[in-house]
């Protein structure tokens, strides 16, 4: 064999390899593959970011578990709609007693668990009581206020609270309110049993979770018979999966600047709404220099929020002036309280003499924190601050340094839990170290009062918090979704713990 023939045989091998690849792809037009045979209208694949560590949210924390299971496999007595209002779900109606301590729920008829057992008030009482007895996650404290839950009849449930609590009914729409059955809790991590429109079918760890439509569902039957939630750690891999037809929907866009590649493409549709994720520039209110109101005010005046949002999150998102998203009943536009005012910020910096101390801005290694951190640093430095920026690996290092030890002056993190004003600023031991007795009293009164009083008092608390500059509310994370054209029913606002699959359809 001569050298040229060696070369020839080498390239033949390469050609054969390439041919093998293209032969496989010749059968597909590149728009839909086996993973997403959505064209027949029976199956759908949704791309998401965080994969659950377990299927059991009674013992494992993390938003990914209820995102997959709540409202799909498990249902609650009440649910939150797209405008933040409570609506009937497994309870068709409910009444609150005069003293606001007794709740009576009328349950729907015909609901069935996927193990074949009917859903009754006994199951509802069992589920509520089990939160106190068997759950281990810290969220279980939402049920501490329950004195007794008992079945009056098969379709009527009575819950007595130790003290009036508006938050309790709201919490019943979250995972702690998930309705389970005594015969279905033996293996929650592998076999979730609920009354929902979907049945859990398979979990491929590191890849995807699949559901099939529940044939015995009591409510409106879902459109898609098979739904797969597929998990992507890498934002560009998620985008590519939609571009090449591996998935039909991007459930959460992680890199808003990447939306450009979908804009103006008539294969896709972009949905933009709000979330509960307040991106907070948190202050360590417990120690100098951030325990000085004037320093905190200087920081708030030094930040140009619109410019910041444009630079670090491609202008997507909502400006908020306090710890309240627009979908909460007590939302008020408070962005005017601390307008961008460089001169004022400079004067306050000079007055406090804070310029001589370097503020430690310690960021978690998360995309929004990293990109916003740079902008915050440069804006603060324009006002005369000295800022030391460092990055801490999230979650491990950030949790131990900032969250547990409060060894920081400022940080940036999105607080994504719904209605979390009280959790973040009402507890002086929390990492914000914010100890405001008046605010704590208002929050307690809001929980105990009537619904109207709650709205008024929460408005007051949100304003107080903002005026006292307990933190700076950079912006509210947007809910960004991209879907193949024709897919309808996507939850525009991501303001619940779940990703409702039953509303999805292909027009």
């Amino acid at each position: 064999m001569t050298p040229s023939r060696v070369a020839a045989s080498g390239s033949v091998l390469l050609l054969a390899l390439t041919a093998a690849c293209s032969a496989g792809s010749g059968t597909s037009d590149g728009t839909a593959t086996t993973g997403a045979g959505g064209k027949v209208g029976t199956s759908l694949t949704v791309g998401l970011v965080a994969e659950p560590v377990s299927l059991d949210f009674t013992t494992k924390d993390g938003a990914a578990i209820p995102q997959a299971l709540l409202d799909n496999v498990y249902e609650t007595l009440v649910k939150v709609d797209q405008s933040g209002e409570l609506q009937p779900a497994l309870a068709s109606a409910w009444r609150v007693s005069e003293d606001q301590k007794t709740y009576t729920f009328d349950l729907v008829q015909g609901a069935k668990f996927t193990n074949g057992r009917p859903f009754t008030a006994k199951d509802a009482a069992f589920s509520i009581n089990r939160v106190k007895s068997d759950w281990t996650v810290s969220l279980k404290s939402a049920m501490d206020v329950v004195a007794a839950a008992k079945a009056v009849s098969d379709t009527q449930l009575e819950v007595t609270l130790a003290k009036p609590s508006n938050n309790w009914l709201y919490k019943m729409s979250t995972r702690v309110g998930a309705m389970m059955t005594e015969q279905g809790v033996a293996d929650l991590a592998a076999k979730p049993v609920g009354t929902g429109p979907y049945v859990f079918t398979e979990w491929r760890r590191g890849d995807s979770i699949s559901f099939a439509a529940n044939p015995d569902y009591w409510g409106t039957k879902p459109f898609f018979q098979d739904v797969t939630l597929k998990y992507f750690k890498d934002p560009s891999a998620l985008n590519n999966a939609l571009l090449t037809g591996t998935i039909d929907v991007i459930g959460t866009v992680q890199a808003p600047e990447s939306l450009q590649q979908f804009e103006g493409n008539d294969r896709f549709e972009i949905t933009e709404g709000t979330t509960n994720g307040e991106v907070l520039l948190s202050f360590n209110n417990g120690k100098a220099p951030m325990n000085d109101l004037k320093v905190r005010q200087a920081v708030r005046h030094a930040i140009d929020h619109r410019a910041l949002l444009d630079t670090c999150w491609a202008g997507r998102g909502t400006l908020i002036g306090s710890m309240v998203p627009p979908t909460d009943p007590w939302y008020e536009d408070l962005t005017g309280l601390y307008p961008y005012d460089l001169a004022k910020a400079k004067a306050l910096v000079a007055e406090t003499g804070v310029a001589s101390t370097a503020l430690r801005l310690r960021l978690p290694s998360l995309p929004y924190a990293t990109s916003c951190g740079q902008v915050v640093k440069s804006q603060l430095e324009q006002a005369g601050f000295t800022v030391d920026l460092d990055q801490l690996e999230f979650p491990a290092v950030w949790l131990s340094t900032v969250f547990t030890d409060a060894d920081y002056d400022m940080s940036i993190v999105a607080h994504v839990e719904p209605r979390d004003l009280a959790a973040v600023f009402g507890n002086p031991d929390y990492y914000t170290r914010y100890d405001n007795k008046q605010l704590q009293a208002d929050l307690a009164a809001a929980d105990a009062g009537t619904v109207d009083q709650q709205v008024d008092l929460m408005k007051k608390a949100a304003r107080e918090l903002s005026e006292d500059a307990a933190g700076d509310f950079l912006f509210l994370l947007p809910n960004l979704m991209v879907a193949e054209k024709g897919i309808t029913g996507l939850p525009k606002n991501a303001i619940t713990e779940s990703f409702r699959l039953a509303d999805l359809s292909r027009g």
Binding site: V6, A7, A20, G35, G206, T246, S400
Partner: protein, 316 residues
Amino acid sequence: MLLHLVRRTAVLLASLAVSSALVFGFMVLLPGDPARVALGVNASEEAVGRLRTEFGLDRPIVEQYVSWVSGLLRLDLGRSYVSQVEIAPQILDRLQVTLWLVGCAMVLAVVVAVPVGTLMALHHRRVSGLVLSAVAQVGVAVPAFLAGILLITVFAVRLGWLPANGWTPPNEDPVQFLRQLVLPGLSLGLVQGAVLTRYVRSSVLDVQREDYIRTARAKGLGPFRALWRHGFRNAAIPVVTVLALQLSTLLIGAVVVERVFVIPGLGSLLLDQVSNRDLVFVQDIVMLLVLAVLLVNFVVDVLYVVIDPRLRVGRP
């Protein structure tokens, strides 16, 4: 030969013992509290403390190390801190995926490197040889993840020939399996192939200058036949060594390539568990990788003797 085997085995065992201590030590040094990471921001200090006790994180470090190693010796890899699921089946599951990927990349690297490297050596004074060298040099400089991103952009997103990412087990849908394996296999294999090509080239060049090749040519054999009959076996020794060393590079490359192509292999498992601070899980995976690399080196040491009979006679 036997003495050689015994010595090599002793080295293997000693290396394993030292690396287990190192792996464990580095995990202890990692900042962050595994119990806090497992429970998240809402958990109370008491709950975190309880979990630390449950994990055994409050025991003396030496005791933790001994219990981990004795578990490994009994093939008991323990349970995950985070999910409480047995670790061994999960690692096996992911290992199968990674083996396909690494195997495919390895084969591809050899298939590319041997002919191209030989050609480069035979043409080393011609323009074609120089061009090939330059191309290989570029291949060496490109990291596997960048190759992956470029391949995805061209073949998946622009041309739509192949899926951009994902994984299907071969027994489920062999065609889809192959289609999804092509791009990650190429991005990992071509880069390794480029590295290997350079070794094949220099190795072949070396043997080309040997007396026995000159003698073979003098007998009337053509340059390639002389190399085929007498040269390849000798040229293979350094190449096999490099190939074995590359296995560890491939395994590390797989960590990144799996992330880019969303492949549920050992690499993505490792990254997830590091971020979860699932320490025992991380230790187990790293130990497995160490074991794989050490075993390959061991086999290569033994293989030298098989390939080159001269080593059998002399002292090992």
